[in-house]
Subunit: 228 residues, 2 copies
Amino acid sequence: MKILITSGGTTEKIDTVRSITNHATGALGKIIAEKYLREGHQVTLVTTKNAVKPESATNLSIFEIEDVDSLIKTLKPLVKEHDILIHSMAVSDYTPVYMADFEKVKSSDDLDTFLRKDNHEGKISSESEYQVLFLKKTPKVISLVKKWNPQITLVGFKLLVNVTKENLFKVARHSLIKNKATFILANDLIDITSKHHIAYLLDHDNVYKATTKEDIAQLIYEKVKKYD
Amino acid sequence: MKILITSGGTTEKIDTVRSITNHATGALGKIIAEKYLREGHQVTLVTTKNAVKPESATNLSIFEIEDVDSLIKTLKPLVKEHDILIHSMAVSDYTPVYMADFEKVKSSDDLDTFLRKDNHEGKISSESEYQVLFLKKTPKVISLVKKWNPQITLVGFKLLVNVTKENLFKVARHSLIKNKATFILANDLIDITSKHHIAYLLDHDNVYKATTKEDIAQLIYEKVKKYD
């Protein structure tokens, strides 16, 4: 079986010196990758420079990406040649379009014009007390996966912050259906500590609970295997 | 001599999962620290989690900070008890205040209200095609140094992107005077590659050129020593 795993968090550039980064250590993706490597599978890991990674192995390939754009370019051909995608990467929802002084934005009578602008300076500089950054939604990578390869088994991830379990499951099931995923791993940031990582693996009818990253890796491995 | 060095880049939180980060590997600060350590000085390094750091040594203390707020809290007492500050850290100029849907901003008749708002959600979520992030200027850390300790020898850094040498020197000298620095290390991002790092150490009357990070460390070491 050829297993594709994403981990870490994407970074979207504001200018040459600043970026918006989605925090993710890559720790969970690393542990999942190590589980599949131990079981003798061929693993491809798409990750980021700062993410923690498994030690190199003959059955492991690693690709590094930065932003959503490079993620899509890298992932598309890989999705087509893998059997399973475990998509644990924290992908940026928005990417910077234009940054302007607050006073300039305030005095404009058509804010839409800022959505069509570009910062040509390498490093945006300003003496203004306030600045305004306009951002645009990025393509939802998870929604493209089954279009690229309808046969792939997709395990999506949904991280929310400080919500009820009911709400977490509702959002996860919505993602499951919308993205034609086989499973969604749902978790809440407040349930993640250095020792514990409470998470729920959901399919259409069931919820399976895990309490550590090793647990999560084992659970995904077992359930995906059973499903195939 | 007690040497205080800052390195790496600060990170300002948008919400619990996203931040704006100033890119800086910490490589130059590390090499400068190693130079002073080799010469037998007591070195304190204020840096960030992702920055590269010297190996631990008995005459080296390391403090890790995240954002401008924690930088100021950490740096203030340290500045008071050191003889020299070499401030190579890339410090965020702006910090997020509030994020809102573009349509909400567009339909508002008083944009100032957004500057007084707070995102209470842990993870700001949105289905909107565009979002708007309002940012506020951070305190200029370099301008506080000589107020905290008028006796300290201050070496400031100025990184610009793709400007003329004339403009780079003008901006650096402005910083030298405004912040009562003894030297400013001026450099342009386009002159920094994996092998070379062209930089200019300026005081009121002179410009000294260096072409590698090791060169820069040597130059700062010599000129600061001569000055004292």
